[in-house]
Symmetry: C2
Subunit: 454 residues, 2 copies
């Protein structure tokens, strides 16, 4: 190929037909999830009341390397995939960097993000099992939108518990979910025991992802034929999201490229875990010396300032416990934090990789992130989601380091989605009313003190 194109698309024939399960190649496995009643490793069967069977199986399966993507899911993938691998020529020029910057853009679907990749899979398996309905939570709204879309397609009723501050700040996100027939409830709500309890303790709370999870799990486990689905953190989600990394790997191979640095934003880890999967396998197998960087908000710094410990996946302490980097399941990010990436913990797979030194992590304050987002939008014609813009910020900084050293590194980052529903945050940035927030050590300690296992 004479010159790398701006946008590169795989053909339908070149698209991956299997997901890749990184756990099968990890030298050490993440510690097992624990049953909160017994503190013993949870079994697949114990997950059946929460997840549908196939997903419970995928959650526990740490040995199968590649898993066939069912044809019904491939059908839906083909409607909006492959996503383009974009060479950021304009950004490179703007920065004057010798680095080659690539990004994998996952925003070309109604949900506006990569979340649809897992939503389709989860809705499909639920339908296949004949379930009557699903519940979930959503923070910034991307996951809720994606799942609404997937459930509308497979014709399964869905209730979405939407973190209250997002529910109020983003009425149009709610409207999109309603377009796809979802029942959207502001969380905490009075429709669940755990919601009522949280409201009683703190009537003014703007909610948290952990709290919305508690409500969704309670609703699923107390309603006949219902199950719960989650858009991040879980092993099964990283498995589905491996499509991002597999497509990236294939595209770069065709272009004769390989990343020296792979960068992704990290909230619960779904995008990052999917993007890095095939490249991390090469690293584990000693085939590359690639750096992997997780980028998180300074206001919710689970990897950079959290503890590697067992914790609940939800605020209400009803879910199984996972060993992960966590800020404590009671941690709620400051209300002035815009966008997603507000989960208290981090995918156990990514936590383990980070703990074992395979991955780095950095955090940024949001004004620095929106600065990068605005620059990126102006030169690359895509308005990035605040979440994705964390990765942009880091990619720009790494490219600027290359400018200093003169190194022509190949940088790959994940552009997970678009920011059309985040204009209030963009406005506050442009009007210079956006504030940064970094939790104090005392605040973090207060949440750490409540960890279930010392």
């Amino acid at each position: 190929m004479s010159k790398i194109p701006y946008r590169f698309y795989l053909t339908e024939e070149q698209m991956p037909k299997q997901w890749y399960n990184l756990r099968a190649d990890m030298k050490e496995q993440p510690d097992p999830m624990l049953n909160p009643a017994t503190f013993k490793p949870i079994t697949e069967e114990e997950l059946y009341p929460i997840f549908c069977k196939e997903l419970a199986h995928q959650e526990m399966d740490s040995t199968t390397q590649f898993i066939d993507i069912p044809e019904e899911i491939l059908e839906m993938y083909r409607i909006y995939r492959p996503s383009p691998l974009i060479r950021a020529y304009n950004l490179e020029k703007e920065l004057g960097t010798p680095a080659k910057i690539y990004y994998k853009f996952e925003g070309n679907n109604t949900s506006g993000s990569h979340k649809l990749n897992s939503a389709i899979a989860q809705a499909y398996y639920a339908k296949k099992q004949g379930l009557k309905g699903l519940t979930t939570e959503t923070g910034a709204g991307q996951w809720g939108t994606a799942l609404s879309e997937a459930c509308a397609y497979f014709k399964i009723p869905l209730t979405v518990f939407m973190v209250k501050c997002s529910y109020n700040q983003k009425p149009y996100r709610k409207a999109v979910m309603q377009t796809f027939d979802a029942n959207v409830v502001a969380s905490p709500s009075d429709t669940t025991n755990v919601g009522r309890k949280i409201l009683a303790e703190n009537p003014e709370t703007t909610g948290s992802l952990g709290c919305a999870i508690s409500e969704a799990v309670e609703k699923a486990t107390t309603t006949e034929g219902y199950r719960y689905v989650l858009g991040s953190v879980l092993n099964q989600v990283l498995l589905h999201q491996s499509i991002i990394g597999l497509e990236s790997e294939k595209a770069m191979e065709i272009l004769g490229e390989y990343p020296d640095i792979v960068i992704g934003c990290a909230g619960g880890g779904s995008n990052l875990g999917g993007l890095i999967a095939p490249f991390m396998r090469d690293k584990i197998l000693g085939k590359n010396n690639t750096r992997f960087i997780a980028v998180e908000p300074a206001s919710c710094p689970s990897l950079t300032r959290g503890k590697y410990a067992y914790d609940f996946c939800d605020t209400g302490r009803v879910t199984p416990m996972a060993k992960m980097y966590t800020l404590g399941c009671g941690f709620i990010p400051s209300a002035n934090h815009a966008g997603g990436l507000r989960y208290h913990g981090m995918s156990p797979v990514l936590s383990k990789l980070y703990h074992d030194g395979y991955m780095e992590a950095v955090s940024y304050e949001q004004t620095k992130v929106f600065e990068a987002a605005t620059l990126f939008a102006r030169v690359e014609t895509i308005l990035p989601a605040p979440e994705s813009s964390h990765a942009i910020r880091c990619a720009i900084d790494e490219a600027l380091k290359c400018k200093e050293t003169g190194e022509q590194k190949t940088i790959l980052f994940g552009l997970t989605g678009t920011g059309y529903f985040d204009m209030a945050a963009y406005s506050s940035y442009h009007e210079k009313t956006m504030q940064d927030y970094i939790p104090t050590d005392e605040e973090l300690q207060k949440a750490f003190d409540k960890l279930p296992i010392k």
Copy 2:
């Protein structure tokens, strides 16, 4: 090719390097624009105070068949183009139609629509001429967003007069334009003579595209080094938008397809004129028997209920006059009309083709349009703009006719953009508060009575 893929992308090498000027192949030319002072055909030089020179030239050039796209514009096109040609397998299945439905999706850029194709060209030529700034108007906001994006890229100051009802209904659209450094003014405003006059006559007016054009033209012609740019209607815009049709033609050729029916929404005609261009050439040359259908809102029915007459392009009656299908430049669509497609006239090129029988036109009430939009979103994973959804409605109806007759027609329609900023309208549809509006004959006659030439 064994099976047509869901999404087909041309490679960079296959992308068109020239625009196509349909006028060069038309058997009869549209009537010339008239100077409103002399009522004589306007000259290229007389356009220089309004448009930059190269664009004035393109506006008048009815003989050059293909025009090279400057490399600087191709550079920018490559960032977000080619746009995919999508086979609507899911929609076909949902409808149970034997028809093959294709759509060209132009929403994959921050402006969320095809408007960027011309915005880039217009900003580039202005920059090349060394202009100090540009003015324009925007209705639903797509054009203003696209031009803001293009002007930020080429670093030219921009003032956007935004139709007041959109300005109030769509604060986030405004915020996107501001992200790209545009100065956004609600129209009618007190910053121009024509705006002040309109406000004095009707202080409660929610504005119109024609009125915003008047203000933008006045501002451009009274500010040193400024020019005016327009996102639709003009010959130059149709020229730039021919990229849509040329890519579609090339992609269909590779796929072994040719459309029996080409459908596009029509406000001022920019998308439709660009989409049909190469296929219409074939029709003019007697090489096909393809049907071309312009789809417009019943609330602003310029082709289906307008007069073919000379009219001003703006409400303030300061622009040259064009022979076109028009509702009268004083016509303002009902405030309950959602989205764009609210211009009183129609591209002179398209008007001529319609008048000469090369093209058909239909109109739909907006609840029927949102019904189609919602169905489409659920099966095709793209949330369409209300404008684009007019074309969807018509494509669905044509596909259903095929279901009745059993004909396997090939339908191509333009999906001009996404509806992320139109959720208020979607909500009103879902909550069944959306109203339809069809102007009465008396209302139309009142506007016709004010046409400048009887």
